[in-house]
Symmetry: C2
Subunit: 259 residues, 2 copies
DNA sequence: TCAACGGTTCGGCCGTCGCCGAAGCATTTC
DNA sequence: GAAATGCTTCGGCGACGGCCGAACCGTTGA
């Protein structure tokens, strides 16, 4: 009754097929033009314009003018989170439970998920980080160990910088193609950002799938000590890895939560 | 485009004021009758019936017949999670950012949040658990230490039992009245359940607020070693508590994630 | 300056859906 | 059995909102 009104407004904005398609497209993490969104939604430019106006007014998306183009992106990680949560509900529903993920092999290998990586590479990275004692993974989030902190610093990611933000540092995200967790949150975003920065991966046009460069092939395997078979769909049974006693991070630096 | 259709269906179901109010009411965690939901939504019985039918068909809620009543509840924790996420987006929106939570003092003290406790007591419990080294709280989730495992077992909660389920064991939830994290997930549900079971708290009619019994007053303070001032709204600055080196749980037992 | 292009605004059409009154079942109570 | 209660089904009304064609701005490039 009290906040019900507002959640209804938000949900009803997402609850239109055309808008839902646009938002889903924006879950790729890149800003898209109105035209691109129109084609994703399958409606005309005028209609799209109307939809985008509403979404922007409700602060679900943000706009940026650039020449004669207008680039739209999700307004906040909270919005991405909400859409993700709705996807989870939708997947649970009456429909078949087994279409399990993208047919496109490239998408399964590595793709963007809003602002971080998903797919087998992302899972392999998460496994590697936990296996080497850099990260403790829990139910939907993780803690970075002191060793992990040094590792990331060495990789060019300044965690202290990230900590200043209010946004959760280290979350996990369930991979819909592989049903395994991978890194999200600020850590996940920083990892994607850095990997793009050093040219280990690059974006492709018109798809969320990412390309792994030659440098990336070597770099990831070397720096993260990936097993040689990481491209194979990981078996569920490999999930459990006992980790040796490692130091515990200062509580304060990771004590942020959001839901 | 692929799963967009279905998320639109789900969102549009939530995106009606009457239905949103019903779902919000069900976030209290108790099953409610159609009549109660009708009064929460402010519409007639017929209209309510229609809404409930749609929600049930989409598996957002579940029904249970009991005599001439029909009890409705949220169908799954995923649904609760999605609604919560929508609330977070709605709260962020263009509106005032500062109405901050319930006026009702009882609600601020302790209340249900779907299937677990929220409010100052819940925060104090989470603080106590982390402070005593039973729990490591991260960004949205936590890890239970071996000591914590023993503690919970001693309190009558069998974690091994809980672990069998696929549902996340230990998540956190951001308290909207205090803006601090408290325990959710299976742990949170078990804690509420056990506290009700031993009579430390009891439900009230017509509200999500909980009542702390005399036994609870003593029990919580004693067992969880709560500070004497836990009823006072906790200051943000108390959040950081350095914890001594404590043992790390086996990775496998907590390696479940969902989002 | 003019044409091309991306995007938005306007106006009107049409379908969908929420709403309630009335009637119909089922269960409980007297 | 009859009345009361809780809930659902049916039917029809009304409004909100998505859709597109056409016209309108602003930027870009020749």
């Amino acid at each position: 009754m009290v906040s019900g009104n507002t959640i209804a407004e938000v949900a009803s904005l997402i609850g239109d097929a055309a808008r839902a398609n646009m938002l889903s497209a924006l879950m790729g993490g890149q800003a898209l033009t109105a035209g691109e969104l129109a084609s994703h939604a399958g409606v005309t430019a005028q209609t799209t314009s109307g939809h985008l106006g509403k979404l922007a007014q409700a602060h679900l998306i943000a706009v940026e003018k650039q020449g004669r183009h207008r680039y739209y992106r999700l307004a906040s990680p909270e919005v991405a989170h909400a859409i993700h949560a709705l996807m989870a509900v939708a997947a649970d529903g009456p429909k078949r439970h087994h279409p399990v993920g993208p047919k496109d092999e490239a998408l399964r290998l590595v793709r963007t998920c809003y602002d971080h990586m998903a797919g087998r590479l992302a899972i392999a990275l998460a496994d590697s980080l936990t296996g080497n004692g850099y990260l403790l993974l829990g139910d939907g989030a993780g803690l970075i160990t002191d060793e992990g902190r040094r590792f990331f610093c060495d990789f060019g990611i300044d965690l202290d910088q990230l900590t200043r933000s209010k946004r959760p540092l280290c979350r996990t995200c369930l991979d819909w193609s592989e049903r395994r967790p991978h890194l999200a949150g600020q850590m996940g975003a920083a990892l994607l950002d850095r990997a793009l920065g050093v040219g280990w991966i690059s974006r492709r046009e018109e798809t969320r799938a990412l390309r792994i460069t030659r440098a990336g092939e070597i770099g990831f395997a070397d720096k993260f000590r990936l097993p040689s078979d990481w491209r194979i769909a990981p078996s569920e049974t490999l999930m459990v890895r006992r980790l040796p006693g490692s130091s515990i991070p200062a509580a304060g630096t990771t004590c942020r939560s959001q839901d």
